[in-house]
């Protein structure tokens, strides 16, 4: 097996990173004390000072894409399981879709409600024999890739439909074996997300799958 280089140094909670303020969107990853920046989770920092978290919890933002499973339709709104700490709802008055328990939906967060509820909008129901894969939300940017290059590679290479939620739920639909291979590659990306040369490796995995 080839060796892959780490993309930066590893820092643990409490380690001093650099001078400066908390970068936007990194509130749960780093913290500031007296103008100095410290790590709050295990993370990597490269020479330019960019922070890549190795593990993190998901914090919902307006506009995030979400994949969820409908768990309750009894009340005035649909309750959706999105696998993270926030409660998620679809306001049934605002949406035209009719949903049943167990349906998989894809939408975007339109509103955050105090203290910990998110409202989904622009909801579509995902129809087909798709499977939902659960990955840590911190690894989702790596599965999508730069300008969604990795996602396109997976979709076109394996001929599957994929919807990726920022909450870490991924819906995959396609031919049986292709879906299994897609799940295998996604799990590989999760455990190897901090290493370089990932796109080439995934490319080779897809090619060897096509030959077999």
């Amino acid at each position: 097996m080839e060796e892959y280089e780490l993309k930066g140094d590893i820092y643990l909670p409490g380690d001093f990173l650099r001078e400066g303020k908390v970068p936007p969107g990194k509130e749960l990853v780093v913290y500031e004390k007296d103008g100095r920046l410290y790590a709050a989770v295990p993370l990597m920092m490269d020479e330019a000072g960019n922070i890549i978290s190795l593990e993190a919890v998901y914090k919902s933002k307006v506009g995030d894409p979400i994949v969820g499973v409908v768990v309750d339709t009894r009340g005035p709104n649909y309750v959706v399981d999105i696998g993270v700490g926030a409660n998620c709802m679809i306001l049934s008055k605002m949406e035209k879709v009719k949903l049943r328990k167990g349906d998989v939906v894809f939408g975007r967060i339109v509103r955050l409600e105090y203290p910990n509820t998110v409202i989904l909008g622009n909801v579509v129901k995902l129809i087909g024999n798709g499977v939902v894969v659960d990955v840590p939300p911190a690894k989702v940017p790596r599965i999508i890739g730069k300008k969604s290059s990795m996602l396109r590679l997976l979709k076109e290479g394996l001929n599957v439909k994929m919807f990726v939620g920022a909450n870490g739920y991924i819906w995959i639909d396609g031919e049986g074996d292709n879906v299994v291979e897609a799940v295998r590659i996604i799990k590989f990306i999760v455990i190897a997300s901090h290493l370089g040369g990932l796109t080439e490796r995934v490319q080779r995995m897809i090619e060897s799958f096509k030959k077999s």
Partner: protein, 246 residues
Amino acid sequence: MYKEGLKLIKDNKRIDGRAFDELRKPLRLEVGVLPNANGSAYIEWGGNKIVVAVYGPSEVLPKHLENPFRGTVKAYYMMSTFSSLEEHGRAGPTRRSLELSKVIGEALEHIIFLEKIPATQIEVYILVLQAEGGTRVASLTAAVAALMDAGIPIREPAVAVASGKVDGTIVLDIGKEEDNYGEADVPVGFTKSGEIILLQADGKLTKEEFKKAIEMSWNASKTLFNLQREAIVRKYQGEVNISFDM
């Protein structure tokens, strides 16, 4: 408890052959051992074998425990029925397991950024597979590693280690016999900057002896901080094995 004729210290050595300021061996910590948990850790510390799983942040249940300004930490310390002799082998919550759940949970509350994850809960399940004295300190050390593995934002790492008085001498990391037949036991937990997040005491100590016990624990905590660091870094270094089962 006093046992007639039992000498816990002979020729400047303790009952298991250790020096006064020596930690038990083996001392091994591993993270990411349970794939279905958000974070997990396994510690072997002398005869202690403990698994810790961290789930969350998730919805707070029951709902009345939800705090709209802060997260909630729930720690569950459990001893397996085969972990030890005597009352420790009893199933279900006991006086002891409730106490340890409380002190470990409160120690963890001090290092987690709970204000950053309001209205959520973090569950920490601690299962003692084998016990040989000092499980609360080993559990706390492993629980902090599991929190880091789960990506829960924390201020700084924390570890715990017990010191005690045995046959009139202050010793580090007391084992089962020393705990049962010794004179005092002081488990103490430190953050990396030296704050004390856990302190219990059982037995009698003078002021000087107490001070010496805390100092001894603090000196030993550096070994444990290194242990935690190595366990987390090991997860991301070396080869990645992709031949796993689906």
